[in-house]
């Protein structure tokens, strides 16, 4: 079973919404909104890994930045360790930031080309008032821990490192403040398969050593299945299904989740499905379909799917689906909490 399920959640998101305005014309008037994240709620319990999966453009990265308050949500509530993040005062926010850190997707854009990697890692400590010498020593110790000998690499610049090495630096930078929560935004997507495995193993070791809690964002279902305790499936800014990694792998309920599993390359012949894989691109998030946003690509779409969006309903213990197909067996009102 997932670790920490019984304890109060470390991170709680309720009804998170972010719509980006599209401006144009001489007067820069808003003519449309990109509904990047639309009413997303979830809990993350201490020491668990919550996987967030979905196609490109479904709002995963926006969600990561919302959680860390790098962009302000339009609506919704985020609580971290029981504290309301959105109403935190600037000094309080600075303190909160030590507890939640982000590892970025692009190992090239995420490191300052003018800083040695030692200084890049130590910078966060300096921000929080650690003396320079101590900050550097801790940065070097952490670089050593993530597999980069500080005597060989500490004084090097980002462009002298490979993608995998840079991602290790990113991880060290995120960990140097001793956070409780690490949001990993596609941390291995830009890496070769073999390097991916090394970085994933490193993340697993660090999580065990430091009792970390992960929010792991990826479009790669195999990776998500491998690392996650629970999984959140997103489609066009909305959560369509959530459940334990095992439950989702064994009995995906939402047609979208089923299609995702069907299209994920699998080595196991028993896991192959006879359902049609997904066709076409996801619709534009600027003007999403009415009702259920997946209905335009869904093999089971019914007339009522266009009328109103289906709510997330519990179909099993800790397994929620937003689909009318399961309304009969669902216990209405059990989710979201």
């Amino acid at each position: 079973m997932s670790p920490g399920i019984g304890s109060p959640p470390l991170l709680q998101a309720r009804g998170l919404r972010k719509h980006f305005p599209l401006r144009g014309g001489v007067l820069q008037r808003t003519y449309a909104w990109v509904r990047a994240v639309d009413g997303v709620s979830f809990d993350v319990h201490p020491t668990e890994t919550l996987g967030i999966v979905g196609e490109s453009g479904c709002g995963k990265s926006t969600l990561a930045r919302l959680i860390l308050r790098l962009i302000e949500p339009d609506a919704g509530r985020i609580t971290f360790g029981g504290e309301d993040v959105r109403s935190a005062s600037p000094p309080r926010m600075k303190r909160l930031r030590r507890d939640m850190q982000l590892v970025f997707q692009d190992p090239y854009a995420s490191l300052n080309p003018r800083l040695t990697i030692e200084d890049a890692v130590a910078f966060s400590l300096l921000v929080h008032g650690t003396p320079r010498g101590e900050a550097r020593a801790r940065a070097r110790a952490l670089l050593d821990r993530v597999g980069l000998d500080p005597r060989l690499y500490g004084r090097r610049y980002a462009h002298e490192l490979s993608g995998g090495q840079r991602q290790r630096v990113n991880i060290a930078r995120a960990l140097v403040l001793d956070p409780k929560l690490l949001v990993l935004d596609e941390p291995v997507s830009a890496l070769d398969k073999s390097v991916q495995a090394q970085v994933l193993n490193l993340l697993a070791e660090l999580k065990r050593e430091r009792a970390l809690t992960y929010v792991f964002i990826s479009h790669d279902l195999n990776v998500i299945e491998h690392v996650s305790d629970r999984v959140l499936v997103m489609y066009l800014g909305e959560v369509v299904e959530t459940g334990t990694a095992d439950a989702l792998a064994q009995s995906p309920r939402h047609p979208y989740t089923q299609a995702l599993f069907a299209s994920a390359p699998s080595m196991d012949p028993d896991r192959r499905m006879d359902r049609p894989p997904l066709a076409g691109d996801p619709p534009n998030a600027i003007d999403p379909p009415s009702g259920c946003r997946f209905r335009t690509r869904c093999a089971f779409a019914m007339p009522r799917c266009a009328e109103a969006p289906p709510a997330l309903r519990s179909v099993d213990a800790a397994h929620d689906v937003a689909c009318y197909l399961y309304e009969a067996e669902a216990t209405v009102g059990a989710a979201p909490r």
């Binding site: 890994t49 930045r65 860390l68 790098l70 926010m93 600075k94 303190r95 930031r97 030590r98 850190q101 982000l102 970025f104 997707q105 692009d106 090239y108 854009a109 995420s110 490191l111 300052n112 080309p113 003018r114 800083l115 890049a120 910078f123 966060s124 921000v127 929080h128 050593d144 597999g147 980069l148 000998d149 005597r151 060989l152 690499y153 004084r155 090097r156 610049y157 980002a158 462009h159 002298e160 090495q165 990113n170 930078r173 995120a174 403040l177 073999s194 495995a197 090394q198 994933l200 193993n201 490193l202 993340l203 697993a204 070791e205 999580k207 491998h226 690392v227």
Partner: protein, 306 residues
């Protein structure tokens, strides 16, 4: 999470701790040292740089190098040809020693060319970074104001402002600064907007760093380079504009020696002695060319990409 067995454990890069003597820790050169190293190995830059050093030195040392008083003329010795005895580069239409005037004139021209670009570099970087980093209404206000200046051709704008302010070196510096500030602001703003969107800035924000720390440690270090290269390309233009203003009588006032002004007063003598009136022009050409080559070299040397 479980280990992925097929690939094995975490690979360590390089030998493990303790296996290397600390002397092997050869720190790679910092960015600016690398740039300097590359500049010193580019032949065109070396030549241009040496020429510039000579020009700057001769201008600085003009009071000691000049054989004559640059404004003392002699009616008897007007328009002596190049190579005349006692006047190596001849004399001008009032019989003043050309070598002395060229040396003294270089001071004026260099001051009038470098100062506005320096002012524009400082002001333009400040305004551009402000507009780019803050964005929104601030950006609109700053950038649209700059667009107003940008709408006029550089020469026209310089002449208009100088004409309104009147002749004299300080007014030349003011008008040329107004010409160059908007250009630098544009470059600084676009560089800032581009760098601001990169993930290492987001990472710095996520670490709790304030605006000042982010701008100082992450933003400026990455935008100053391109702005510096752009500013260096503007020096030759500033020299030509400054000389042009003096030529039109809007810059340095006679009898002071300045290359553009000398070109103006000598231009009617071109039928008497072709080479002497061309000398200030040659000086302007060589100086601005040297600055151009230097900025080209700088741009190449700074293109250190991953």
């Amino acid at each position: 999470m479980t280990q992925i067995e097929a690939v094995g454990g975490v690979a360590t890069f390089g030998p493990g701790p303790g296996s290397l003597p600390p002397t092997l820790n050869v720190a790679p050169m910092s960015y600016w040292r690398t740039v300097a190293w590359r500049l010193a190995r580019d032949p065109a830059t070396l030549v241009a740089g040496s020429v510039l050093v000579l020009i700057v030195l001769s201008a600085v040392l003009a009071p000691w190098l000049a054989p004559y008083d640059p404004s003392a003329g002699s009616i008897r010795l007007r328009l002596a040809p190049v190579g005349a005895s006692a006047h190596l580069l001849g004399t001008d239409e009032q019989g003043r020693d050309m070598l002395s005037r060229l040396l003294w004139g270089g001071r004026m021209t260099l001051v009038a060319g470098l100062t506005p670009v320096l002012i524009a570099f400082v002001l333009g970087t400040g305004l551009g970074v402000l507009a780019g980093y803050v964005g929104g209404l601030t950006n609109t206000l700053v950038m649209r104001t700059m667009d107003i200046f940008y709408a006029f051709p550089a020469v026209l704008l310089a002449i208009a402002i100088s004409g309104a302010l009147g002749p004299g070196l300080p007014n030349t510096l003011i008008s040329l600064s107004i010409v160059f500030v908007p250009r630098v602001v544009r470059v600084a703003e676009s560089a800032t907007v581009q760098v601001k969107g990169l993930e290492y800035i987001a990472a710095a924000r996520a670490s709790g760093a304030g605006v000042r720390a982010i701008v100082r440690h992450h933003l400026l270090a990455n935008v100053l380079g391109p702005i510096l290269v752009f500013a260096s390309t503007q020096v030759s233009l500033a020299i030509i504009l400054a000389a042009g203003l003096s030529f039109l009588g809007l810059g340095v006032t006679p009898p002071a020696a300045e290359w553009g002004l000398m070109l103006n007063t000598l231009r009617q003598s071109i039928y008497v002695n072709a080479l002497v009136p061309a000398l200030p022009g040659i000086a302007i050409f060589v100086t601005s060319m040297a600055f151009n080559l230097l900025s080209d070299g700088l741009r190449d040397a700074m293109e250190i990409r991953a």
